[in-house]
Amino acid sequence: MTTAVSFQEVSRHFGAVRAVDRVDLDIREGEFFAMLGPSGSGKTTCLRLMAGFEQPTAGHIEIFGETAEGVPPYRRSVNTVFQDYALFPHLNVLDNVAYGLMVRGVARAERHAQAEAALDLVKLPGYGGRKPGQLSGGQRQRVALARALVNRPKVLLLDEPLGALDLKLREQMQEELKSLQKALGITFVFVTHDQGEALSMADRIAVFSEGRIMQIGTPEEVYKRPRSRFVADFVGSSNVLPPDFTARHGGARQWASLRPEALRLAEDGVGIAATVVGRAYLGASTRLILDAEGERIHAVLPAGASLPGDGAAIRLAFDKADLHVMEDQS
């Protein structure tokens, strides 16, 4: 399988700040790849390194086997969907979408036909005559997508593309992006701080923290078998259990993670004693915030179960198989 984007020991420093620090990364052709991390973790800088807006301080970047460092953005077959869309305010939607073709000298009729087709693809047919200012956030998002896709990039970069949309629209766009990517077969690289988004859309996820990659894997690997406490905590708010706690409850004396939905209420006399501190209603389930032997534990229980009230003393149980001992014990 071809490697679409390859980072070898890539660093990008801004003065003393190590925005990206010795990152190794291989993104496969045709894959939907998510870069997940909190703000300031270096994921966006990595995206900008791929686009060519930043140059690495050290290391080597390849795009489809060709050296990318020192190559300006306009010579890369890579297109970006910007976080705030960056549509040209003085051009109408059709000319925005046709821009990439226009600067490459495609004749007017031809580029407009292709731009119309791209607008059809993102389900905005007939919107060509409007100015970006006349569109809603969701529509601008689609125009930005069409503007990038019309150039048939080898790699499509998406910088938090769904961040500014409301929940309903975001879920709809997630599905559409996923099916678009499948249909077009283009490599998508997607930056997000939303673990739910990364888990539901990506083929593989790289979890970033402080300029480094903490873990790369499929959503299931990252979710169920986090390598470190950071990943466990950041991807889906796992319970991170200290070595003593793990040892008392049937595990080795090591840091472990336990998914909140792996916990269930148990009868008196078995499991772990805990006190209810608070609860959050999530619709299909309820999250209980518990104090168990001095540890703050989250348990997600399905709707319909009778739930203890605040301050109630309860017992918790889980299957040993769900207890995941982390590789990185630091």
Binding site: F53, Y74, A86, N151
Partner: protein
């Protein structure tokens, strides 16, 4: 947690005249607007526009060639005089100079404004504003006389050209008819350079303000879509900065058209519109012709703005 007890749900009025006045003004925004706008509008409307129209009215009167008195009867004869050969020369010369100064200022101002808007931060930005504004603090006459010395045959510019063994280049330039002359200080080139220097801040500031409003990611987006820096400039930066360039050009163009001091101190003896107005309303006492001359810049600016609007220069506003 205890909170400080809340005050009354509705607090009593501040009392006094000013307290009552603020309440009234708050309740009547139109009254506030009226009070704020009336004094400046009166000033602009009566003192400024009023006297301008009074002057323009004069252009429809004529002067009695024998007595030198103004005949207060409607006539177009002054305009006929305005369009004679010598006066047309003055108008064309002024327009060409104004246009050259405007284009020159736009070319020089753009990179400076771009740097200031894109890259200058903190201390550098302050330095930029100081550098742009500082020349405006010193007297206009001082600057113009300073330029006369700089451009003179014994001046520093000639000396520099001599040191660089480029005197032949300067001489070749000065040998060109119309733009050349005996020395830079008595040529149209000299007049152009001084105009360019004096009006440059009026071009830089609006262009910088316009560029400041262009989000940086539009430049990145353009490059991302495959546009070379030159294509990004002509397709994204220039159209979006155009309202600023037009605003600046209104300044440089109209200021050059109206100026009568610079061409008098630096340049040839051939007159510009400003000098003609000055001469006609002063020594010659021909107020109608002076008034007719002042109509020219107004008409030209009107056409210029109409044309700029038609070409979509303000679409990005």
């Amino acid at each position: 947690m205890t909170m400080v007890a809340a005050a009354d749900p509705i607090r009593p009025g501040r009392g006094g005249f000013f307290g009552a006045l603020s309440d009234v003004l708050w309740r009547n925004p139109r009254l506030t607007l009226f009070l704020m706008l009336t004094p400046p509008l009166l000033w602009l409307g009566i003192i400024y526009l009023g006297s301008l129209f009074a002057l323009l009215l004069q252009s429809f009167f004529s002067i009695d060639e024998y007595s030198g008195l103004i005949r207060r009867e409607f006539t177009l004869s002054t305009y006929a005089e305005l369009l004679n050969r010598a006066n047309i020369d003055i108008i064309v010369r002024t327009l060409v100079m104004s246009a050259s100064v405007t284009v020159g200022a736009a070319i020089v101002a753009f990179p400076i404004a771009y740097f200031a808007a894109r890259y200058a931060r903190g201390k550098w930005k302050a330095l930029f504003y100081l550098g742009i504004m500082l020349p405006l603090w010193s007297s206009y006459l001082v600057k113009v006389y300073a330029w006369k010395l700089i451009l003179a045959r014994e001046g520093i510019l000639n000396w520099l050209f001599a040191k660089l063994h480029l005197t032949w280049l300067l001489d070749a330039w000065l040998a060109i008819p119309v733009v050349g002359g005996n020395s830079l200080s008595v040529s149209h080139t000299g007049t152009f350079l001084v105009f360019l220097y004096v009006w440059l801040p009026y071009m830089i500031l609006p262009v910088q303000a316009a560029l400041e409003r262009v989000p940086g990611n539009l430049v990145e987006a353009s490059a991302d879509l495959g546009a070379s820096p030159r294509q990004t400039f002509s397709n994204v930066l220039l159209p979006l900065a155009l309202p600023g360039v037009i605003a600046g050009s209104i300044f440089t163009f109209s200021l050059t058209m109206g100026d009568y001091i610079i061409p008098q101190i630096v340049g040839t003896s051939r007159r510009f519109i400003g000098q003609a107005v000055y001469a006609h309303q002063g020594t010659a006492g021909n107020i109608p012709l002076a008034a007719a001359f002042t109509v020219v810049p107004i008409v030209v600016m009107g056409f210029y703005l109409w044309f700029a609007k038609r070409r979509g220069a303000f679409d990005a506003l």
